[in-house]
């Protein structure tokens, strides 16, 4: 735990790039499986987690509830009987086919979400995830395993394209709806009062808009900034709102949207497309015809091409790792209560104030990180676009 606190402090002091990723792995190792040794490597650990987490919502300490529902081996029973913080954390930061509200196992209350599947044999299949009864029953030939939808017939190897509205999709849509409603109301507020300063909540948003426009877009792109400001604003507010919603522990928050690699991948893809579609001749010349001896091209061109891909790739990883690490740390502090509680209930009560205090502290840090990561993503996007559209006559200008 002290290792993680140390790393959090370092991240707080600006080493935003790769430390969170490291932290994420450390957290994974530390909490993944208390009975396993920390020396266990990540891949093995993940297998262990997926072996033990075959049920969507069982993470209580009561073995009987689980034993009744489990269809798996005796070894899995024994493992699940104990409180497994690694499994609990992975379930919370991962995706799910229903939106868990409260309760454990059979008593869990969750909002069922639509399952949308495409298979070449069955075509499009749509049904409610409630039909799976928390992963206990198969439906229309499909069943839920480890949170994934697989064929009931295990020998069937046909690909299933899972386009379900999962918890993350639903949470993202809630955040997007919120963002659309707020910004459109804001635009009405502005157009109805021309030339006047905004009032109330909008007065809080305007500095953010001006900040993105004047301090993020303009320094990087100069006169061409106005073309990209709407994109930067959309990216910034999408990440920021989703980060904040992710910090709300109850519905409709709590989903780890911006800490999901698929979401950050799409965002990075948007950046990648924007940068390369708008790149001017200097940008392409710098990649394919740098001002170096021709023989150096053999080395330089692959490096430059790698750089083009790496820039958005790093954007993807940074956001994913930072937000996921934040969620893991907060959940980890809560896990302490139950780890100690499993040893002795009184010990659990004793640890809880400390745990809550640390969680409050981390949540405040995460509020900062929520803004910071949205800002960093937007700033780097702006810089990448700025570099691609920069008008210069010598390729070395920006080195």
């Amino acid at each position: 735990m002290s290792d993680n606190q140390y790393v959090v402090k370092s991240a707080f002091f600006g080493k935003l790039l790769f430390l969170p990723l490291f932290l994420f792995f450390v957290a994974n190792l530390a909490w993944g499986n208390p009975e396993n040794h920390a020396a266990q490597n990540v891949a093995e650990h993940t297998i262990a987690v997926s072996d033990s987490s075959h049920n969507g919502h069982v993470h209580g300490t009561e073995a009987s509830v689980h034993a009744a529902s489990s269809e798996h081996s005796e070894a899995a029973h024994a493992e699940d009987a104990k409180y497994d913080p690694g499994k609990m954390i992975m379930e919370h930061i991962g995706d799910a086919h229903d939106w868990h509200l409260w309760g454990e196992g059979e008593h869990a209350v969750s909002i069922p979400l639509p399952v949308i599947l495409y298979t070449s044999s069955k075509g499009l299949t749509i049904f409610s995830s409630a039909n799976f009864h928390h992963g206990h029953e198969p439906f229309q030939g499909f069943m839920l395993h480890d949170g994934h939808i697989v064929w009931e017939d295990e020998t069937n190897t046909e690909a299933i394209y899972d386009l379900s509205i999962t918890k993350n999709v639903a949470a993202m849509m809630v955040a997007v709806l919120f963002l659309i409603v707020v910004t459109i109301r804001m635009s009405k507020h502005y157009t109805s009062r021309p030339g006047q300063a905004p009032k109330g909540f909008y007065n809080l948003i305007e500095p953010l808009i001006l900040f993105i426009r004047d301090d993020v877009a303009k320094p990087a792109m100069g006169d061409k900034a106005h073309k990209f400001v709407p994109l930067l604003l959309s990216i910034f507010f999408f990440i920021f709102v989703n980060n904040l919603f992710g910090l709300i522990p109850i519905f409709p928050g709590g989903a780890n949207v911006t800490g999901n690699i698929a979401v950050t991948m799409v965002l990075a893809l948007v950046v990648f497309i924007t940068v390369n579609l708008n790149g001017n001749k200097y940008y392409w010349k710098h990649i394919f015809m740098p001002d170096v001896p021709v023989l150096m091209y053999i080395i330089l061109i692959p490096i430059e091409i790698l750089g083009v891909i790496l820039k958005p790739f790093v954007l993807m990883l940074r956001l994913f790792a930072n937000i996921t690490a934040g969620h893991i740390i907060i959940l980890g502090f809560f896990s302490l209560i139950f780890i100690f509680g499993a040893m002795n209930p009184n010990l659990g009560y004793a640890v809880s104030p400390l745990s809550v205090a640390f969680t409050v502290f981390m949540s405040m840090l995460e509020l900062l990180v929520a803004f910071l990561q949205a800002f960093v993503f937007t700033l780097l996007t702006s810089i990448y676009i700025g570099m691609a559209i920069e008008e210069h006559h010598h390729a070395e200008d920006h080195h």
């Binding site: 990540v42 891949a43 993940t46 997926s50 992975m90 930061i93 991962g94 995706d95 949308i116 480890d146 394209y161 899972d162 386009l163 379900s164 509205i165 999962t166 993350n168 999709v169 993202m172 849509m173 997007v176 963002l179 659309i180 910004t183 459109i184 804001m186 635009s187 502005y190 157009t191 021309p194 030339g195 006047q196 300063a197 305007e206 808009i209 001006l210 426009r213 106005h226 400001v229 709407p230 994109l231 604003l233 959309s234 507010f237 999408f238 999901n260 690699i261 698929a262 979401v263 991948m265 799409v266 965002l267 893809l269 948007v270 994913f320 996921t324």
Partner: protein, 167 residues
């Protein structure tokens, strides 16, 4: 690893949602908001420029006023000075003319006096002659017995007469 494997469903929905978000926000939110902000900034900028211009105009007018005031003041001072000079000149002239007049008067009076004096002297001389004649007549008529005594007497009378005449 499940955590770093992008799920195809999420990629699809994220792509779709984000495209829609981008389209809606760009068209219905950011465009009007950014336009309003830049319009407002322009208005404020214009207002500030105008205020600056008005200030400069005010300063110019004030400077002009002060200049006018200073000019008026100097004009007034000049006029006062001129008036004072004129007054002094008039007084001086009056004084000199009065002095001249007085001198003239005095000279005239002196002339008159000397004329009167001369006339009086003439008169006196005539009188003295008359007296002398009368005395002589009296002396002649009183018989010229004692020549010496008579001479004395004449002399005595003459001094008396001249004394009274000059007194």
């Amino acid at each position: 690893m499940q955590l770093v494997t992008p799920a195809i469903g999420l990629v699809f929905w994220m792509g779709l949602t984000f495209s829609i978000l981008l389209f809606i926000l760009r068209k219905f939110a950011w465009k009007p908001i950014l336009n309003s902000i830049s319009e407002r900034e322009e208005t404020i900028h214009n207002a500030l420029t105008q205020a600056e211009q008005a200030k400069a105009e005010m300063a110019r007018l004030q400077g002009e006023n002060e200049q006018l005031l200073a000019q008026a003041r100097s004009e007034r001072d000049a006029m006062l000075k001129e008036a004072r000079e004129i007054r002094e000149k008039i007084i001086g002239e009056a004084k000199t003319s009065a002095e001249d007049e007085a001198k003239k008067l005095i000279a005239r009076a002196n002339d008159e006096i000397s004329k009167q004096k001369n006339a009086a002297m003439d008169e006196l001389k005539k009188e003295v002659a008359n007296f002398s004649i009368q005395i002589a007549e009296k002396l002649v008529s009183d018989k010229l017995e004692n020549n010496e005594a008579q001479q004395k007497l004449i002399a005595h009378h003459l001094t008396d007469l001249t004394k009274t005449a000059t007194a």
